[in-house]
Amino acid sequence: MSSPTPIHNSPGFRPIEPGNAEKTNRDLHTISLLVRDAPGVLVRVAMVFSRRGYNIESLVVSPGARSGFSRMTVTCSGDPAILEQMIKQLAKLVDVVHALDHTSSHRFETEIALIKIRCEGEARREALEIAEHFNAKVVDYAAESVILRVYGSSEKLDAMISLFADEAVVELVRSGKIVMTRALEVT
């Protein structure tokens, strides 16, 4: 762990493939939905993406502020014009109260990751140093491993994870991005 792993080998980082340059992180769109908490709503939302062969990068579903409603945060990459049309089709779903693209709005975003690192001795000391630098907390401390919990922007999580060698990261679970617009603007 003395020299950082090259970034393109890191988990959580999607390499740029030749001819596929538009699918980079900078084109990731963050879409938030307020939906009725009804059976099938997740399938209906997912199908707007799947019928075009679009891949959802991350998806967070959780209860909303009012009972009977849920929140979804979807991150997805793709042609902006097509995404705009997809958002209209999401909004059209009977169970979707609203669907908004927050890619260019003033917003606060965060994500949580749990990272299980195999480490002993010197490697453990380095892992803890990285953790400290990124304000990560050690939530499990075992003989041959630690679990680190880190939260912040998805980019910060990417950066931290990239510092560990592939073989050191035993497991990685990320929550997916959640987003909220600033001030009283609707998310």
């Binding site: 009725r36 014009a81 909004a91 009977v94």
Partner: protein, 571 residues
């Protein structure tokens, strides 16, 4: 009896009665038995079909002819899956249909019980909305919502999956009148500022075109379209499904545009400086090659479904609202315009490129449909199947009346025409209803001859028989070096004998000289269903034609001398 709590099925049927349902198109089976049992005591008449696909198309035809929702009732598993093609047809063409499917008992869901299918799962992609009811108490609310969703905004099919324990068990929930759907909003009047903008653009246009689609039929915007056209002196074109919204015999009407539209309609659209879509969605059959579509025209788009804005064509002005309400607001904001030069040009195109067909060389489908048009004069409800006969009917049968033209457009569903006519006839008992079918499509749902016979419906079926899947054969001839593959319908039955086997009156037309006499006789026949089979020439082509993916300017009027490249557009 009065004090007994009704079963879920009885409650369901009561809800349907409250919705004003007259007919249920259905086919019974185990999981739907409680519902069929409840129907015995109901004022609703069950139309027992011969295949569930027929039921779905009948409900669709009933809905298109009347504007009221069509209702289907089938059992679980294969009963439900047989309606999927009908659901797709209704979804693509925005038709209000409510499909009720029986389901295995709820504790058995997901356990591969007999005749279980994940029906909501299978149908998500082809419904406007759907329900899987696991509690009988939800029956009144879900039924009310289903009819509300199916019939409002952009209409569409809604499915309710009903486990047998839910319909068999008690239901003491009260009826529901109001719906609470926070995610479901329907635009109505349109933004006045945007409408004003549209009015200014239309007023300034030198070569305007009004492009009318199915939305204008649904919202009954036809009269408003004519008023606007007369004020602006703007020609009207309509889509396949827009036929009938605005009278096609009106002097400003150029007929159908698109792949097999009239040459003059397409030339007008190609040359216009302003095009307003009224309840139409710039389908690929309409625009041809998008990159070259109406490059110099300002585009105005009226649609009740905002998801249509920018999907195919990015409009300069988009008005979300009901077509008729928007037009009624728009018309007073424009004043009489002078576009005589433009109308003269359109008239020259009409004269130079008329619809025509060969008068020699045997019986032609076009002649049969031309005569049918003369006999029906727009007074009859016409349904079609899908293929060459459909395009010829669209060209030669001029629609004058709203909801008198019924055809599967978006889905292009073969087998649609005949059952749709049965549904239309039930919905419009005082009208003459003709189904125009090809020999291929008719055979897909011909078993419904029994349904028409049992109910003694005076529905008329015209089978244009060329013993080919003619449209595919045409493409193989034009684009695939005439390498015919899978288009020869050798082995067709004798359609006259087939009809007679069901007790259906039938005639055959072999010669051009027979056409008028036989069609008139069939048109006047009202003792029950009847069938006319026209044995037409085997090989004939529909022109004009814009090859898929070609621009409007790539329209061909007749068969080119040299082999054409394979089309690049969709299908």
């Amino acid at each position: 009896m009065e004090n007994r709590v009704p079963t879920g099925a009885e409650k369901l049927i009561q809800c349907l009665e409250r919705e004003g349902v007259e007919y249920i198109f259905g086919y019974s089976g185990g999981a739907a038995m409680p519902i069929f049992d409840a129907l015995v005591d109901s004022s609703i008449e069950l139309i027992l079909v011969r295949h569930e696909q027929g039921a779905a198309h009948m409900a669709d035809g009933y809905a298109r002819a009347t504007g009221k929702p069509g209702v289907v009732l089938v059992t679980s598993g294969p009963g439900a899956t047989n309606t999927v093609t009908g659901l797709l047809t209704s979804q693509m063409d925005s038709v209000p249909v409510v499909v009720l499917t029986g389901q295995t008992i709820s504790p058995m869901l997901g356990k591969d019980g007999f005749q279980e299918a994940d029906v909501t799962g299978i149908t998500y992609a082809v419904v406007k909305h759907s329900y899987l009811l696991k509690d009988a108490a939800d029956i009144p609310r879900s039924t009310r919502e289903a009819f509300h969703i199916a019939t409002t905004g952009r209409p569409g099919p809604v499915l309710i999956d009903l486990p047998k324990d839910v319909t068999q068990g008690p239901c003491d929930a009260a009826f529901v009148d109001d719906v609470d759907l926070p995610g479901y909003t329907v635009p109505t009047h349109g933004d006045p500022n945007v409408i004003r903008q549209a009015a200014e653009i239309l007023q300034a246009a030198k070569r305007p075109v009004l492009y009318v689609g199915h939305g204008a039929v649904i919202s009954q915007a036809g009269k408003a379209v004519i008023r606007l056209a007369e004020k602006l002196r703007a020609p009207i074109v309509n889509t396949l499904l827009g036929k009938g919204a605005a009278d096609e015999t009106h002097p400003l009407h150029l007929g159908m545009l698109g792949m097999h539209g009239t040459a003059y309609a397409n030339k007008a659209v190609d040359a216009c400086d302003c095009i307003m879509a009224i309840g139409a969605r710039w389908d690929d059959r309409i625009t041809g090659k998008l990159d070259e579509f109406c490059l110099d025209a300002t585009k105005i788009h009226i649609d009740i479904d905002p998801a249509e804005f920018g999907k195919m064509v990015t409009p300069d002005v988009a008005i979300a609202g009901d077509a008729r309400l928007v037009l009624e607001e728009l018309i007073p904001q424009v004043s009489a315009a002078d576009t005589e030069e433009w109308l003269d040009q359109c008239a020259r195109w009409r004269k130079r490129y008329p619809l025509k067909y060969a008068k020699q060389g045997g019986l032609r489908a076009q002649l049969v449909l031309d005569k049918l048009n003369e006999i029906t004069r727009g007074d009859a409800v016409l349904t079609t199947d899908v293929g060459q006969h459909q395009m010829w009917a669209a060209q030669f049968c001029q629609s004058t009346t709203n909801r008198h033209w019924i055809s599967s457009g978006g889905a292009g569903t073969m087998g649609f025409g005949f059952p749709a006519a049965i549904g239309a006839q039930l919905g419009c008992p005082d009208k003459k209803v003709w189904a125009i079918c090809g020999d291929g499509g008719f055979q897909m749902t011909q078993a419904e001859l029994a349904t028409s016979a049992i109910h003694e419906l005076p529905v008329k079926c015209l089978v244009i028989n060329n013993n080919f899947l003619g449209m595919v054969r045409q493409w193989q001839e034009l684009f695939f070096e005439n390498r015919l593959s899978g288009v020869d319908l050798v082995g067709n039955p004798d359609f006259v004998k087939l009809a007679q086997a069901y007790g259906v009156q039938a005639w055959r037309i072999r010669r051009p000289s027979d056409v008028e006499r036989v069609l008139t006789e069939a048109h006047e026949y009202d003792e029950g269903p009847c069938l006319v089979v026209a044995e037409v020439v085997k090989e004939d082509n529909v022109f004009p034609m814009i090859p898929a993916g070609a621009p409007l300017s790539g329209m061909i009027i007749e068969k080119p001398k040299e082999q054409m490249a394979k089309p690049t557009g969709s299908t």
